[in-house]
């Protein structure tokens, strides 16, 4: 079996691979978070991804809220569209 060496310390044996960067890391470079090994770059990337997910989650919720909020106005506008169409029709029918 091939023994891998730490990407930051080539003289040290790697104890695992960062789940994000997939690079071998030694105990000093490894941080165990939620039971998983991360390198420093991996942790930064995880932080960035989570922040992005939170931001997109907030935007998604705001977008859904905006879509629901426009519904009463659209309902009223649709009612007006029908009313003006039938008003125009009564003009034709007269």
């Amino acid at each position: 079996m091939e023994i891998k060496h730490c990407v930051n310390h080539p003289d040290r044996h790697a104890i695992g691979v960062c789940v994000i960067t997939k690079k071998p890391i030694c105990p000093e470079c490894s941080t165990k978070y939620e039971g998983v090994n991360y390198s420093r770059e991996g942790l930064e990337e995880l932080k960035r991804r989570r922040a992005q997910k939170t931001r997109s989650g907030i935007w998604s919720r705001a977008a859904n809220l905006a879509m629901v909020a426009q519904a009463p106005l659209s309902f009223y506008l649709l009612y007006l569209c029908y009313l003006y169409t039938f008003n125009a029709f009564t003009g034709l029918a007269k």
Binding site: S60, M67, V68, S74, L77, Y84, F86, T90
Partner: protein, 277 residues
């Protein structure tokens, strides 16, 4: 996504989903038509009441009638969603996604799409000169976007976890990327509607001017007067609208599946054939 959509649209016949819709209605019409009848029954009653009020001069009943029509429209969307959900489930081979949970979003999206389709009446009412000058741009273009958004809202929201806004953006992008296909589909449906209207009018004319008086000896002068009136013409247009709306309900679900299956490399025709088998 835009690139994928463009690739799909250049490879697939633009009007194929319309042909497939005719086939689908021929083979499965009996299963989906009762749902559509339940969908449009209140709308038909509301339109009948409105036409009656307009033709008998009861103009004060128009606001209540239009409110009823708006509520009946929302009712129609809820039932038509079940039709599209059923078609999508049959085509994808997956159980139908829970409709009730997404229904509020579907209705919100369809409300926005319908306003885009019908806002021409508001423009004509409040800014007739603007409508005359810019009519094609400010009335027809939003109407086309609304037409496709309204048709594909259900498949979009039932397929995956798209938010309503993301579904609207997807449709706007798709229409922009598939102009040629959009123009072909809208022109085909528009022309079919026109041909159907002219055909019905000619048939009426033939029946009241030739067949009934000459062959059956019936006096049709009063009937001719009714048939040439605006109320009857509006009723004919509404009945044709129902027929085309049913067709578009099925066709839009097939169009969405055609776009998706093109991307996934699955043939819609083969899937439909498998369903028949």
């Amino acid at each position: 996504m835009a690139g994928e959509i463009a690739e799909v649209t250049t490879k697939r016949p633009a009007l194929r989903p319309l042909d497939e819709a005719v086939e689908y209605i021929r083979n499965h019409g009996a299963a989906v038509f009762p749902l559509y009848v339940a969908a449009v029954a209140p709308m038909t009653i509301a339109v009948y009441m409105l036409l009656d009020a307009a033709s008998t001069g009861m103009y004060s009943a128009l606001p209540e009638g239009c409110l009823l029509l708006t509520v009946a429209t929302v009712w129609k969307w809820a039932w038509a969603s079940a039709i599209q959900g059923r078609i999508q489930s049959a085509l994808s081979g997956k159980p139908m996604a829970p409709l009730l949970g997404r229904l509020s979003y579907i209705i919100c999206l369809k409300l926005a799409a319908s306003v885009a389709m019908l806002w021409g009446s508001l423009i004509i009412k409040f800014a007739a000169s603007v409508a005359l000058l810019w009519g094609p741009f400010i009335i027809i273009i939003p109407a086309i976007y609304g037409f496709f958004l309204s048709g594909m809202a259900v498949p979009l929201l039932l397929d995956g976890s798209l938010s309503p806004l993301a579904a609207a953006i997807w449709t706007v992008k798709w229409v922009g990327d598939s102009i040629s296909r959009v123009v072909k589909i809208t022109t085909a449906i528009g022309l079919l509607f026109l041909v159907a209207y002219v055909g019905v009018s000619l048939l009426q004319l033939l029946a009241t001017q030739m067949i009934m008086p000459s062959l059956l000896g019936i006096d049709t002068s009063e009937l001719s007067l009714i048939l040439s009136g605006a109320t009857w013409q509006m009723a004919v247009v509404f009945m044709l609208f129902l027929a085309f709306d049913f067709f578009w309900t099925v066709a839009a679900a097939l169009l969405y599946h055609d776009i998706q299956s093109g991307r996934a490399g699955v043939d819609l025709g083969l899937r439909l054939t498998a369903l028949e088998g």
